[in-house]
């Protein structure tokens, strides 16, 4: 049955994150925020985070609505980005977006993605890459905006 292939995409961990998303809130007193839309389906991710004086993410959360993949991806992102510096966070986000365009990383590098490792199989479902990468683009834009001093 073809739905067996669905199991490759919708692993238990993804369904779990989507059903019970982590850090599903707007960060109070956020230093950096970014809202992104997936124009093809109307999904929205509002990402907010708090950077301390050492450029470390002390809190991160998201709100919005969307499909299982986009919501699970955002939830996984918040787990992995907590307590990371801006530099570390951007490096991890790059691993994720590289994988989405087919540029492979070593197993050790992939481990840095935490639960989001399973989403790197999204290449099997090209129509869903945008859903998986939405939150990661939001993070990049939120952080880079800050790097330019445009808080």
């Amino acid at each position: 049955m073809s739905l067996d292939k669905l199991n490759q995409l919708y692993r238990a961990v993804i369904l779990e994150h989507a059903a019970n998303p982590h850090h599903h809130y707007a960060v109070p007193n956020a230093t950096n925020k970014k809202t992104l839309h997936n124009t093809t389906c109307g999904d929205t991710i509002n990402l907010s985070l708090h950077l301390d004086a050492d450029n470390k993410i002390t809190d991160i959360g998201f709100t919005g609505q969307g499909c299982t993949i986009s919501q699970a991806s955002a939830s996984m992102l918040t787990d992995v980005m907590m307590d990371k510096t801006t530099e570390e966070a951007l490096a991890i986000a790059k691993i994720f977006s590289d994988e989405a365009i087919g540029e492979k990383h070593s197993r050790d590098e992939l481990k840095k993605l935490g639960d989001a490792q399973v989403l790197t199989q999204i290449m099997e479902f090209p129509a869903r890459i945008k859903c998986a990468t939405l939150a990661w683009w939001a993070l990049k834009e939120a952080l880079l905006k800050n790097a330019k001093g445009d808080k």
Binding site: S2, L15, C41, G42, G66, A127
Partner: protein, 411 residues
């Protein structure tokens, strides 16, 4: 009645599998499949008859011009336009509507004027008017829909006033599949001195269309949604209006006389066809029209209705499926939008894809309408006359399996 089994064999794309399953192509509202005759016509044109039109003095160019202009006549008869010169070849519905907004709209809309559209419009019949209204400091008004998504005629009577210059509505909605009362809206528009622009993109492939019967001033549609190639479309316009309008684009083939400091425009329709047109596209579209006429538009309409009457009750019988718009299959011309519980349409569409069923998920380029339905997106299944009851069954079974797969997610 045509032999639908034979008709189906004309569409080679259907003879393939998707994700290891029989392909059930139910995204016809996005684009239709192409019959063998259209594909072969494109091939033979490019292999044997390729030449530019309206300029060559040699036999090949003369022949290409003749074929291109014959295509215009085929379209004219298909929609019962009064003359072939009322048929302008465009890139598609979007270009047709933009053409009217940029020419008729620029010429006639003044500050304080009103443009009236409906809440059911595709972005291509919304944004050109919204932007025109912004440029001209005019007001854009929306006709409300009834609870089943039909155009509310009582509201239309309120919205269309003496200040209204343009009324623009879809003939068949691309999300709910309902038919708009074009003739009545045209009468309202004309009584108030306005013109009516009709977006026919979803209608021409399902219904016999008679632009004079509809009393449409403009009627725009796309070739690719009616068995023709992509990149070719048609804008019908009443001769009197087209003659008064300024050109849309400037260049070759649209001029009568060019001086250093001024130029004179050619007659219609050439005034609106600057540059080398999509010659093969127009000829391919005429071949598609001939195919539709051979099947018969009345038969096409009846077949679509028969398939929808089969599909809709089965869809509604699945617990958790929410249908948007009317519950009556007769009010869904080729299109039905739905959601499965709280599952996101993208997740549903991916699961259906795994089962060989091609559907669309999202806001279908009609955000105001989809939001008015109280959701951000829907799954949309859309039929064509070459679909089968087996395609409907495959969709129904795939939805049931999807429900089972995501049972933990469904609320």
């Amino acid at each position: 009645m045509p032999n639908w089994e034979l008709v189906r064999q004309d569409f080679s794309e259907l003879r393939q599998t998707m994700n290891g399953e029989r392909l059930a192509y139910l995204d016809n509202a996005a684009t239709s499949l192409k019959p063998k005759s259209v594909i072969e016509r494109l091939l033979s044109f490019y292999q044997q008859e390729n030449a530019n039109v309206h300029r060559g003095t040699y036999q090949l160019s003369f022949k290409a011009t003749e074929e291109y202009e014959d295509a215009r006549k085929v379209i004219q008869h298909f929609i019962n336009a009064a003359a072939a010169r009322e048929i302008i070849f465009t890139r598609g519905t979007t270009e047709g509507i933009n053409l009217i907004a940029s020419t008729y709209g620029e010429q006639n809309i003044e500050p304080g004027d009103e443009i009236v559209i409906s809440l059911a419009e595709h972005h291509s019949n919304l944004i050109p008017w919204q932007q025109l209204a912004l440029r001209k400091k005019a007001t854009l008004k929306y006709i409300n829909l009834t609870s089943t998504g039909e155009i509310d005629l009582a509201d239309a009577k309120q919205k269309i006033t003496a200040k209204t210059k343009i009324v623009a509505v879809t003939h068949v909605g691309n999300v709910l599949g309902n038919v708009s009362p074009i003739r009545k809206l045209a009468e309202l528009a004309h009584q108030n001195g306005a013109i009516i622009v009709v977006d026919g993109a979803q209608a021409v492939c399902h219904l016999p269309v008679d632009v004079q019967e509809l009393a449409a001033d403009f009627y725009a549609f796309s070739g690719h949604k009616m068995l023709g190639p992509t990149g070719i479309g048609v804008l019908y316009g009443k001769q009197k209006l087209l003659e008064q309008m300024p050109p849309y684009q400037f260049g070759g083939e649209m001029i009568e006389d060019v001086q250093l400091d001024n130029s004179k425009w050619d007659q219609i329709p050439h005034k609106f066809e600057a540059g080398t047109p999509n010659i093969a596209g127009a000829i391919g579209l005429a071949t598609a029209v001939k195919y539709l006429e051979q099947v018969g538009m009345a038969q096409v309409k009846a077949r679509d209705a028969e398939l929808m009457a089969y599909l809709l009750p089965k869809l509604m019988a699945i617990p958790g499926v929410k249908i948007y718009g009317s519950q009556n299959p007769q009010q869904h011309v080729g299109v039905v939008s739905f959601n499965l519980g709280t599952l996101h349409p993208h997740d549903v569409a991916t699961a259906l894809d795994m089962e060989g069923v091609a559907v669309r998920a999202g806001h279908h380029c009609a955000e105001p309408l989809v939001h008015s339905l109280g959701t951000n997106s829907t799954v949309r299944a859309s039929l064509a006359f070459y679909n089968y009851q087996a395609d409907c069954d495959q969709l129904i079974n795939a939805i049931k399996e999807t429900k089972e797969f995501f049972k933990g997610e469904l609320r």
